[in-house]
């Protein structure tokens, strides 16, 4: 996966002249806008995520943060702007036309997504939830996919439940399986859409612990979340979205101790209380 993205990221480097750090760009978002029924949800958003970085996106509900994440793998179609994943543009092909579904699916497979409501497939057991896409999208053999799946389930602490069906699991367990499912595609970027918001408070910790472990292993991750302490602990960069605009982008120390905008200061005060 590392080698595959090298040649493509050369192209993206040319489009980002202001970049100084040596790491390659994993996701590059340019002038992204999106509106629903005339309401602007995203306004001219620019965002750069480097390989190995963990970026958390904060903001109050309705700020557009989930929409931004869902645009990255084209679950939402932006109205304008561009998104590159590992140097490859998603959704629009070289000729500037909408991507054919097969090609779009291939680009999507380079990202892994974890949903707020888990969205496990209820007709498949835990192991098969994890192996389904590697077998039928990547074309892996069953044996290879299952070996890899068992490693991943071990990593998220769910190997004992490999044969269980999703309906028998707790929310925290479901989400850990969903994380393993996304990892199984060996994605270049992991996208987390409020992964703990649908969980009972006592189950939040086990899921956050898994995500924290992943960040330590060097995965590139974009996490939409409400968990401030978590964001501060794992992020390389914190992005604050307000009414569809990115109004603050900073490293976590600066963001949480010395934010430059009044809006973020108010937000942090309210979250603390």
């Amino acid at each position: 996966m590392f080698e595959k993205s090298t040649s493509e990221s050369v192209r993206s480097e040319q489009t980002t002249p202001e970049r100084t750090a040596p790491a390659r760009t994993a996701v590059s978002i340019r002038h992204l806008s999106k509106s629903f029924d005339g309401v602007e949800v995203l306004r001219d958003v620019d965002l750069e995520v480097r390989e190995g970085d963990v970026v958390t996106i904060l903001g109050s509900s309705g700020s557009g943060k989930s929409t931004l994440l869902r645009c990255i793998n084209w679950l939402e179609r932006p109205d304008s702007g561009s998104i590159h994943i590992g140097g490859q543009r998603i959704g629009v092909n070289d000729a500037g036309r909408p991507m054919p579904v097969r090609e779009l699916a291939r680009v999507r497979a380079r990202t892994g997504m974890v949903f707020q409501s888990f969205n496990l497939w209820p007709h498949l057991n835990v192991l098969h939830n994890v192996t389904e896409a590697p077998i039928h999208v990547l074309g892996k053999s069953k044996a290879e996919a299952e070996t890899h799946a068992r490693e991943l389930l071990e990593k998220v602490g769910m190997s004992a439940k490999a044969d269980a069906y999703p309906s028998t699991l707790s929310g925290g367990q479901k989400q850990r399986v969903a994380i393993a499912r996304a990892l199984a595609m060996q994605p270049e970027v992991m996208l987390f859409d409020e992964p703990t918001s649908a969980l009972d408070p006592e189950l939040v910790g086990e899921v956050l612990a898994v995500i924290r472990d992943l960040s330590a292993e060097g995965y590139t991750m974009i996490v939409v979340t409400h968990e401030m302490a978590f964001s501060r602990a794992v992020s390389d960069k914190v992005v604050f979205l307000d009414k569809g605009l990115i109004i603050e982008q900073a490293d976590p120390e600066t963001f949480f101790t010395n934010p430059s905008t009044e809006r973020v200061r108010k937000f942090l005060e309210r979250e603390e209380s």
């Binding site: 949903f115 497939w121 209820p122 499912r181």
Partner: protein, 213 residues
């Protein structure tokens, strides 16, 4: 009832079973195909299918069987009566099955489809691997219910001269002059067949409910 009466009765039962079985298999498949075509919302084709479903739901099976069997020769087609019977049952059950499949499609969880797309599945793989297996489970109770209705409607094919489980009771009483026993045995056989389907339907419902959790 003597041995030959029993023999005739079982033959009638077999006729009902195989003609219903073929019609069910064709009707379930054709219903799925129609549901898929309707999802594509092709103009004109869509309206024609709506008309077909509305007509098929309102047309009595007896009338449909007679219509097919009697009017085919005027178009120069010589239909075997069994084929005409199967055609009538299939045309009828397909309309109901199409509606069952279509509602399974429309109620399919958007979240799960998104999860499949996010994992890089193409629409076809998503349909085949994620949607269809679940739609089969959720539609099964409705499909089995429709199978019961088909068997309950199957005596209609007697009108074009097929000797099914109902019609055979006439044949037997023409010899024995005692119509009640064969009719009662036929009742018992129908109850056994449909009782089985009701039982299967209950199991299918339990499985479908488990999936919905």
């Amino acid at each position: 009832m003597n041995a030959s009466a029993w023999h005739m009765l079982l033959e009638g039962a077999w006729t009902t079973v195989w003609i219903s079985g073929i019609s069910i298999a064709m009707g379930v498949t054709a219903g799925l195909i129609l549901a898929l075509i309707r999802l594509a919302r092709i103009p004109v084709v869509d309206q024609l299918l709506v008309l077909y479903i509305s007509l098929a739901r309102a047309t009595p099976l007896v009338t449909l069987a007679l219509f097919i069997f009697l009017s085919a020769p005027t178009f120069g087609i010589n239909l075997d009566r069994n084929v005409a019977g199967i055609l009538a049952l299939t045309l009828n059950t397909t309309a109901f099955n199409a509606e069952i499949w279509r509602s399974a499609f429309r109620n399919f969880s958007r979240d799960q489809r998104e999860a499949a797309m996010a994992a890089g599945m193409t629409p076809w793989v998503t349909f085949r691997r994620i949607m269809l297996p679940q739609m089969m489970i959720t539609s099964l109770p409705g499909l089995i219910n429709e199978m019961s209705f088909l068997i309950k409607g199957s005596p209609a094919i007697a009108v074009i001269g097929i000797v099914d489980l109902t019609r055979v009771t006439n044949r037997i009483s023409a010899v024995t002059y005692d119509p009640l026993p064969p009719i009662l045995v036929a009742c018992a056989l129908y109850m056994a067949a449909i009782g089985c389907l009701v039982w299967l339907q209950r199991i299918a419902e339990r499985r479908a409910n488990r999936l919905a959790v």
